[in-house]
């Protein structure tokens, strides 16, 4: 979760930047802060990638290196100006990130980081053994970056240039994370299934985050090459990649500020350790690696969120106030009462030899509440997942309206106006309530990462947030708008999930145990809300354990036992059905 970049904080940051430029600051510190700035640009990318999207990469040094070598070749051999080689360098690194990401991002957790280790090592050996890249000696004689004809030649100028670019990156990152795409990236923390259920293509979102991090790394590499004006493979090896991650972990990968702080801290610490430790031990050695290694483990054990949150009190980001929407979102036309919205027929699901769901069929019409009930292990949740496209059908058919949606993934089903909540609440705990709700409207916007980062999405964002505010008011939680979702009581979180679902503009609402863990009064409130929604013409399917709740609310009950349908009917009739009584209380025999 990014901390807010308010003007005072920006001023404070600028002051820190300007401080060393004051006369009397030794050039050595200027160089050190230049390096810190270069690292901070890479680590800002890692904040988006690791801290926000939850994807770990040890290989960012490779993207730095691709860009550095690209610009070195283009400027020394091609005679290009650095400004002209910048887009090429960015493009190359971005493409490399896209390809590597496309290969591994769909894999579960640990393959990607292992892969990044492997190709960063390979990259190092390729650099060191390729003639045109100067082998282990590298390339020299790079031109400096010129600004209005004035070459930037180290010292305070290089530092200001670096930190200027860093400020630009922070600004872009800040905007990106706040945008529609940013919310989708942040939603990955709330679970892939939840994000997909609101139409987010999580595979694509992960690649966006990966490419973005690669682009920032590329920018840093370009700057480094033209400030240093000579490059060799060493700063692009695996150890550099590990160091970037270390910076993110120590500073705190969860916020932009943490990333910058970690980069500065590690850069300074490394320099000091390299000066001090050999004196202490009396020999030369790679002592800072020992300290960093131990530090990394200790941080993970003692302060897994990094040091930044211990220094700066965390505030939950507040989305920018965009004023009233100029063009509100058009609502989906409500279905006429009685129209069949969902028709499930002969659903069947087997796990290995086990039949979890056996020939289940039911329908939900506009303006009615249907409840799926049954004892533990009866197959209710599996049925629910089959309908929502989270689990794959073994046999059977699901229709939404007049469309056959059998076998479609969750995010395609969401497009057809089917929204859901989850048995275990899947909100992004650190994100504000309103942004969580706005994620529900993901499919009703279209702005991509570029429009978001550049701030060209204001009108659309205003409309999305106006809708989110409307739905939050509808469920009566406007007062919690700017609180972190994780700070709410469970009952309220369940209601927030309903608001998020309503934000999709659904005709069909699927609720997985909405009353679980709610107190009596909360259940009453939920019950009233669902009645209102039914009156407005929504079709509602709910899986529920709480029989009091179900009996008072549902128009029809579908009772399951042992994966099969036991009976179906009005609550009063079902409650008196001896088969149902036996399913719940056990046989009287």
């Amino acid at each position: 979760m990014p901390t807010r970049l308010d003007p005072t904080r920006l001023l404070a940051a600028l002051a820190v930047v300007a401080l060393p430029v004051l006369p009397g600051v030794p050039p050595f510190w200027l160089t050190l802060m230049t390096y810190a700035g270069l690292s901070a640009i890479v680590v800002t990318g890692l904040v988006v990638l690791t801290g926000v999207a939850g994807i770990t990469s040890f290989g960012q040094a490779m993207f730095v290196g691709i860009s550095a070598y690209a610009t070195a070749l283009l400027t020394t051999q091609g005679g290009l100006s650095p400004w002209l080689s910048l887009p090429v360098a960015l493009l190359l690194s971005g493409m490399a990130a896209w390809v590597t990401g496309a290969i591994t991002l769909r894999l579960s957790g640990h393959y990607l980081p292992l892969g990044t280790i492997a190709w960063n090592i390979s990259f190092f050996y390729v650099l060191g053994n390729t003639d045109v890249l100067g082998r282990y000696d590298g390339l020299t004689g790079l031109p400096p970056i010129t600004i209005l004809g004035h070459p930037v030649l180290g010292g305070a100028e290089a530092m200001l240039l670096t930190w200027g670019f860093l400020a630009l990156c922070l600004w872009l990152t800040h905007r990106l994370l706040r945008s529609r795409t940013g919310r989708a990236i942040r939603a990955l923390k709330g679970g892939v299934v939840a994000a997909e259920s609101f139409g987010v293509d999580t595979a694509r979102v992960k690649i966006v985050a990966f490419v973005y991090a690669g682009l920032l790394a590329a920018l840093s590499g370009w700057l480094y090459a033209h400030i240093q004006r000579a490059i060799n493979p060493t700063p692009f090896g695996i150890n550099a990649g590990i160091e970037y991650l270390l910076m993110a972990v120590i500073g705190g990968a969860g916020s932009i500020g943490g990333g910058v702080f970690g980069a500065v801290l590690v850069t300074v610490l490394k320099d000091q350790l390299q000066n001090v430790l050999p004196l202490v031990f009396g020999t030369q050695g790679n002592f800072e690696a020992i300290v960093f290694g131990i530090l990394l483990v200790l941080m993970l054990q003692r302060a897994p969120d990094g040091l930044w949150p211990l220094i700066v009190r965390r505030t939950v980001s507040r989305p920018p106030d965009r004023g009233p929407a100029t063009a509100p979102l058009s609502p989906r036309p409500a279905a006429a009462p009685g129209t069949v919205l969902l028709q499930a027929s002969n659903l069947r699901k087997t796990f290995g030899g086990l039949v979890a769901v056996n020939e289940i069929g039911f329908s939900v019409a506009a303006g009615e509440v249907v409840a799926l009930i049954g004892p533990n292990g009866a197959g209710k949740s599996t049925t629910f997942n089959l309908v929502t496209g989270v689990a794959r059908l073994t046999a059977g058919m699901v229709r939404l309206g007049d469309r056959d949606v059998t076998g479609l993934p969750a995010r395609r089903i969401a497009r057809l106006g089917c929204a859901r909540t989850f048995q275990h609440v899947k909100l992004v705990a650190g994100m504000s309530v309103i942004e969580n709700v706005a994620l529900g409207a993901h499919l009703r916007g279209s702005a991509g990462p570029v429009r978001g980062a550049l701030g060209l999405d204001a009108a659309e964002e205003a409309a999305l947030f106006a809708e989110a505010d409307r739905q939050l008011a509808r469920v009566g939680l406007s007062a919690c708008r700017d609180l972190p979702a994780g700070s709410l009581a469970l009952g309220q979180q369940r209601i927030v999930e309903i608001a998020r679902a309503l934000c999709l503009g659904p005709t069909l609402l699927l609720l997985d145990e909405p009353a679980a863990g709610l107190r009596h009064q909360e259940k009453q409130g939920l019950s009233d809300l669902l009645r209102r929604l039914r009156q407005e013409g929504l079709g509602i399917l709910l899986v529920e354990h709480d029989m009091d709740f179900v009996m008072g609310l549902a128009d029809r009950l579908v009772v399951m036992n042992f994966g099969a349908k036991l009976c179906e009917g009005a609550p009063a009739a079902v409650r008196r059905d001896p088969a149902v009584v036996e399913a719940y209380l056990g046989s009287a025999a």
Binding site: H110, L114, V126, N286, I290, F292, L300, Q301
Partner: protein, 345 residues
């Protein structure tokens, strides 16, 4: 490349592959039992080789003070872990394991090193020095993170690798070492000359594989390890503490690592940071096996060895690149087979 060269390369590949197989097996063991991707496995290899070289030279290896230090840290960590049931007897048991045992090993090394007692004894001392480090590292670095995600454990694992590599440089210096072979003999086999060393390597690898198989299939402790890997909660409910399983698997990994180092030291000059690359090649094999299957990992390791030896003949400068890029098709294949969406809960 004619047939003789190909045979020669194959032989080389199989011998190196045997080492990667040992490493891959221990990586799979540690990952399935503890979910830790053991990057520092390579450091156990380097420590094994360099400790032996140092004993061979008649000096006290730097790994001895490290063992004592790790033991002391592990003692503190163990006491903290067991604070709810810290009776005199428990304290004594911990002190014996974490303090007395390393002290005993250290004393033996200190006494034996100047005597140059011969390769066999030196190898035994080497194994005795490195093996307990596995358990100690688990207690100090990983047990406090028992509830963390695989990713956090992986980052911690990289941290431990950094620290151990740095310590390796302090203890052994930047110069590499080589030890005499286990056997000087060589046997003609067709156009090839098979060295006694390579027979030792393949033989010991097979012996370790058989020993591991016996351990897992015949002993209750071995089964307890598998049980933890299969179902952690189920194992806890049987009274199998995850920390016991973790310590045990880490110790096995350290033992296998040290032995691999002892085996590889006569073939190539080992530096303080050589282990990392050797360990990563074991990883390539383990990943090809999906980090889960022992036979697949062992077979893949032989393949990695052969790819490496052919690559070093055809394009020696790029042999590492070729070996590491071998995982890309595997990752691609796994990626295409994997389920589109699932939450890791």
């Amino acid at each position: 490349m004619d047939a003789t060269i190909l045979l020669l390369l194959l032989q080389d590949g199989v011998v190196n592959g045997a080492i990667y197989a040992l490493i891959a097996l221990s990586l799979v063991l540690v990952f399935t039992v503890t979910r830790v991707i053991l990057i520092p496995q390579g450091e156990f290899v380097a420590y094994g080789a360099l400790t032996l070289a140092s004993l061979e030279a008649g000096t006290l290896p730097g790994t001895v003070p490290l063992l004592l230090g790790l033991g002391a840290l592990a003692f503190l960590a163990d006491c903290a872990e067991a604070r709810a049931i810290l009776t005199g007897r428990v304290l004594l048991r911990l002190a014996l394991r974490d303090l007395a045992l390393p002290a005993l090993v250290a004393a033996a090394a200190w006494f034996l090193a100047p005597l140059k007692p011969g390769l066999l004894v030196e190898i035994l001392v080497t194994l005795a020095i490195v093996t307990p480090m596995g358990g100690f590292l688990h207690a100090v670095a990983f047990r406090p993170l028992a509830h963390a995600s695989v990713l956090v454990l992986l980052i911690a694992s990289v941290g431990v690798h950094l620290a151990l590599t740095g310590l390796g440089l302090v203890f052994f210096g930047a110069e590499g070492s080589r030890t005499p072979p286990l056997s000087e003999a060589s046997f003609p086999a067709g156009p090839l000359l098979v060295s006694g060393q390579s027979l030792w390597m393949i033989g010991l690898t097979l012996a370790i594989i058989v020993a591991l198989w016996l351990f897992f299939s015949r002993t209750l402790l071995g089964k307890a390890l598998i049980a933890t890997a299969v179902n952690r909660l189920g194992a806890r409910l049987m009274g199998i503490a995850p920390s016991l399983a973790g310590r045990l698997s880490f110790s096995v990994a350290a033992f296998i690592g040290a032995l691999s180092g002892v085996l590889i030291a006569p073939l190539t000059t080992v530096y303080y940071d050589t282990g990392f690359l050797i360990g990563l090649k074991g990883f390539v094999a383990a990943i090809i096996g999906g980090l889960a299957s022992y036979p697949a990992a062992a077979a893949a390791a032989i393949l990695v060895g052969i790819i490496e030896s052919v690559a070093s003949f055809e394009a020696s400068a790029f042999k590492e690149v070729i070996v590491f890029m071998a995982i890309i098709p595997v990752l691609l294949w796994r990626s295409l087979r994997s389920a589109p969406i699932e939450d890791e809960e």
